[in-house]
């Protein structure tokens, strides 16, 4: 079996991609990396034999361009185990590549083992309420849960740069409603819920997020109120996150929300209702009105 990593050049230094590199190297099988980019950042720090697909449109590719580039780069014989970080690239091309190559695809995987000629994968299921063990496939495209694997400082064995001839990119207009953080990759996430009381109250969390270097998320209630954009929603009907630290502010802790953040390493909850279910899912709880707590916390953090 061969293992490969597919990623964007711009993401090479990001933790989740470095985790994919680390896992590929730890499996003890031949490793290849497939890197898509505009070729402006020098030698790619990727694992094993590196094929670098270069095209100006690959600096920030649309899904179709990224897919065509990955196909061109991997050709007819991709590695049996293709590892990717959870995120937009996997969302756009991961499963589609798997279908093209007649392989299965699995996401949110927290453990990967080689079992004979096949794969054994452990993943979250049922909104994080369960853990499923899947086995039997001999090839797959796998998206890894951020934070579940050790990162590696990858040194390429050799680099082959391939200029790609791609169809014209899809014309698109991009609108940013927030700072554009990828919630799924953030190491710290601050989320606000209905308890923030108003759009202004919710937006006040931006100061805390900036102080902590965190991405700003939201509960479904905050999105339904129009205080946050759908792309910021954490929960069953939003993003699943697994940061090192998750702060839930003014969020009651409905099952819908807990499913999206239960894989977080540490959870801090602030809510003025001492009976809020979020406290049962938190490592540290603070029963307080956020508006009263925040000035003191800001001062204590040196903000």
């Amino acid at each position: 079996m061969r293992a490969g990593v597919l990623c964007l050049e711009r993401d090479l230094a990001e933790g989740p991609v470095r985790e994919a590199m680390g896992l590929a190297l730890a499996l003890g099988v031949p490793v290849e990396s497939f890197v898509l980019g505009d070729g402006l950042s020098g030698v790619p720090q990727a694992a094993g034999d590196v094929r670098m697909g270069v095209h100006p449109a690959l600096g920030d590719p649309d899904p179709e361009t990224a897919y065509q580039a990955a196909l061109a780069l991997m050709g007819d014989a991709p590695p049996e185990l293709l590892l990717m970080a959870e995120g937009q690239l996997f969302e756009s091309v991961g499963a589609r590549l798997a279908g093209h190559y007649g392989r299965t695809a699995v996401r949110d995987v927290g453990r990967v083992e080689l079992a004979g000629d096949g794969l054994r994968l452990v993943k979250a299921a049922f909104g994080g309420k369960a853990e499923a063990v899947l086995a039997g496939a001999e090839a797959a495209v796998v998206a890894l849960r951020a934070g579940a694997f050790a990162q590696a400082d990858a040194v390429p064995a050799g680099v082959e740069s391939v200029g790609l001839d791609l169809p014209a990119p899809v014309e698109r207009q991009v609108v940013r409603e927030s700072k554009g953080e990828d919630l799924g990759r953030a190491r710290v996430v601050v989320s606000g819920g209905r308890g923030m009381g108003s759009a202004e109250g919710y937006q006040g969390l931006r100061a805390l997020a900036d102080l902590l270097g965190a991405a700003l998320g939201a509960s479904r209630a905050a999105v339904d109120e129009g205080w946050a954009s759908p792309s910021q929603q954490v929960g069953i009907t939003g993003r699943k996150v697994a940061p090192e630290l998750y702060l839930a502010i003014g969020i009651s802790g409905a099952s819908q929300h807990l499913s999206g953040m239960s894989q977080s390493r540490q959870v801090v909850a602030v809510n003025k209702d001492e009976h809020a279910p979020i406290f049962a899912a938190a490592d540290i709880g603070v029963v307080a009105d956020w508006q009263q707590l925040w000035p003191h916390l800001k001062r204590a953090l040196g903000g």
Binding site: G99, T104, F126, V133, G136, L211, S231, Q266, I284
Partner: protein, 256 residues
């Protein structure tokens, strides 16, 4: 435009922790089966596109008869027909599912759009739409929040990190649909629900093929945490919380 929308009924994902029971055979519990939230978004988009462009849509599901309620909801909202591919309620490799759905789609004739929910809330795979697009060799647009016909094309808005992206795309396309203000599933009229209950569902045997991934184990995950409450007035709580954040090596500028 003619669409095929793929639906899935699942155990209510908003059931409180502890209600579902997990075993290597799968999940069970005294929980209602509901249409998956994102499949509801895909169904709403199918209804909108059929109405906007004098089109039609067919609803397809895979599973046991528990799926029929989802298909009847689609019939009540205007689906011209409904097809169920027979399967037990246990885990199915998503590639196997995608192959079965492709076989049904091909048998139904050409469609402009193939609509999926972003992710079913049981196995949390979120890969069936992409697999289907790869098998069909069709363009794939993920995380669609809105799609509006413009001539013979479709203006598609899709979610990206921190915002959205719009583009004009020409069918045939495979879309995975996510939630947003434009894809909230409407309620069918009572009369249409009653009529839908009398309509037939085309039940088919699954296409034969390799089983692929199998479920080897399924167990409850840790959800409860031994939470520690910080006491005192807000100033005292803030001091303790700041100390805890520093213990996580959080300071100005984020995780050190």
């Amino acid at each position: 435009m003619r669409s095929i929308v793929f639906l899935k009924a699942i155990l209510d994902p908003e059931a409180p922790p502890g209600v579902l029971r997990f075993s290597p055979a799968g999940a069970s519990g005294d929980v209602q089966q509901v249409l998956g939230p994102f499949e509801g978004n895909a169904l709403e988009l199918a209804v909108q596109l059929a109405q906007a462009a004098s089109g039609s849509f067919v609803a397809v599901a895979q599973g046991d008869p528990a799926q029929d309620a989802a298909l009847r909801k689609a019939l009540a909202l205007g689906a011209e027909s409904a097809v169920r591919v027979e399967a037990d309620g246990a885990f199915t490799d998503p590639l196997v599912t995608a192959r079965r759905l492709r076989a049904v789609a091909l048998s139904l004739g050409a469609a402009d759009l193939y609509l999926f929910g972003r992710q079913a809330g049981d196995w949390d795979m979120g890969v069936t739409a992409g697999l289907f697009a790869g098998l069909m060799d069709l363009p794939f647009v993920p995380l669609v929040q809105r799609a509006v016909p413009e001539g013979d094309a479709l203006r598609v808005r899709r979610e990206i990190a921190g915002g959205y992206e719009e583009s004009l795309r020409r069918p045939p396309l495979v879309l995975s649909v996510t939630n947003g203000p434009a894809t909230v599933l409407r309620l069918p009229k009572v009369k249409d629900v009653m009529l839908a209950n009398r309509r037939p569902i085309d039940v088919r045997a699954p296409e034969a093929g390799p089983a692929g991934l199998a479920l080897e184990g399924l167990a409850a995950a840790r959800t409860e945490r031994a939470g520690r409450m910080l006491s005192g007035d807000p100033a005292a709580q803030a001091e303790q919380l700041a100390a805890e954040l520093r213990r996580f090596r959080i300071g100005q500028g984020g995780v050190q």
